[in-house]
Symmetry: C2
Subunit: 279 residues, 2 copies
């Protein structure tokens, strides 16, 4: 193991800060730093306290201490205050101010979820909303929600599995289900490699947009075939009041609604932050 | 703007470290910190020097200063020393020690690219390898390489665009091409929404595995239709010496090769770090 006993407090603080940030949602032992810097437990505890206070002041994350035999520290990313307000404002603006209403009144969010800043902040918010210890994997279906799901999994430090519509490409054994696509009212297939998930895993479902709920029903049914548990269902946005299907409980960052503007003679989008963003 | 003039050096160091790490590959002005903490330029320069030295010592990144009117600081993530060696060893072990040879001698990398630790480190290495100022977007095709491409884009702080095989789902206008799939020697289609990329953008192509090069040829041809430039082509792994197609220059993190083990009577995988990992 490395020996950084020559480090001063200022250098330790930088090192430990980087360490927390590059290990989100992971258990970290004080012992690691004690051995690395060859200092006392109380010295490292003071360092961690300083870092925790700045993180909370900045609204960028919490450092939680878990007690007990398997105890340790966890860095959980947050998004609070000014950064959170900026994110909400930017997304609301983007949702309502672009040509995102496609033929059939389909709403495209691609440009928002391709924006590196908005994607990153959305993923931090979602990862922060769920209890990290309750999630073993993130799941989505190709393709629209994949970038968001990958980034959420990154902040939760768990695997992201991507169901495919049709794996004619070379994969190993898969489990597949049929589901009714809400948009087209047609039966479609989705599948996952059989070794993607183990029984009893707690899985967070992430997708970009809830239109009719067909995809969510499909993902939930696929999880049931793997004997996994739904730890949560999270959408970037939902189209309020348009459901034709029974859905389990879910959360959405934003609610959007199509409204016909009589004066202008076309549909417009209204967007509000969802309940998830109210605390 | 916030006023953190009450911050001591130790707190400033934590704050600035977090700021750099959450703004990879982005221009950062010293002025921002001078105004925020109400201190002199030389004080902030000293803080940044301390942080840069620890980052370089740790092998986790560089802070570069760019001069000129639009000058500023850039944090570029690295992966050096112990962490880099651990990554290479873990991937080599995973590549050669699992049941990843599928029917038709297709090689599946899914489990490696679903591992949050390996995925994250691979993305840092790739982002670090290319000159950040030369890349405007990352591009891939659904689905195997998507998680890697999303994470590379995250560290480069650019958008990630995902070409689709068939967007029967509701999207706006697209540009599509036909290409010859190397695996099946059949003509397939890939497409991107027309507004995904603008002319003259410099685009880094990222994919999981180079088998016959068909997919890479397709992505390159699609970029040409958008009048974009190929800033680089990066694969997680390539199957050495199996090409049937002319390909532009590319880089791969690992080289794998199928070798028949006469004693055991089956194929085995051999894996070596690619040239990308040699410096």
């Amino acid at each position: 193991m490395e020996n950084l006993s020559h480090y001063k407090r200022s250098q330790r603080l930088i090192y430990i800060t980087e360490y927390f940030l590059s290990h989100p949602s992971q258990q970290i032992q004080l012992r690691y730093f004690i051995d690395l810097f060859q200092v006392s437990k109380s010295t490292i505890s003071e360092d961690v306290s300083l870092i925790r206070d700045v993180f909370e002041d900045k609204g960028c994350g919490t450092i939680r201490a878990e007690v007990g035999a398997s105890g340790g520290l966890y860095y959980q990313p947050h998004l609070l205050g000014q950064e959170r307000r900026r994110f909400i404002r930017d997304v609301q603006f983007a949702l309502t101010n672009r040509q995102r209403i496609l033929p059939g009144n389909y709403i495209s969010l691609d440009d928002i979820l391709e924006d590196p800043y908005l994607l990153n902040q959305a993923a931090r918010l979602i990862a922060d909303y769920y209890n990290v210890s309750e999630i073993d994997a993130v799941m989505t279906v190709e393709t629209n929600g994949v970038a968001l799901a990958v980034m959420v999994a990154h902040y939760l430090r768990v695997k992201c599995v991507i169901a495919r519509r049709d794996s004619k490409d070379t994969v190993g054994p898969t489990i597949s289900i049929n589901y009714v696509s809400g948009s087209h009212q047609e039966v479609r297939k989705m599948e996952l490699p059989k070794n993607s998930l183990q029984a009893d895993m707690k899985v967070l479902i992430v997708d970009d947009f809830l239109r009719n709920g067909g995809t969510i029903q499909g993902l939930t049914a696929l999880l049931a075939e793997f004997n996994c548990k739904v730890a949560g269902i999270c959408l970037f946005a939902e189209n309020s009041g348009q459901y034709t299907m029974d859905l389990p409980a879910y959360d959405a960052l934003f609610n959007v609604q199509l409204a016909y503007n009589k004066t202008k003679g076309h549909y417009e989008l209204q967007a509000e932050p969802g309940e998830m963003l109210s605390f």
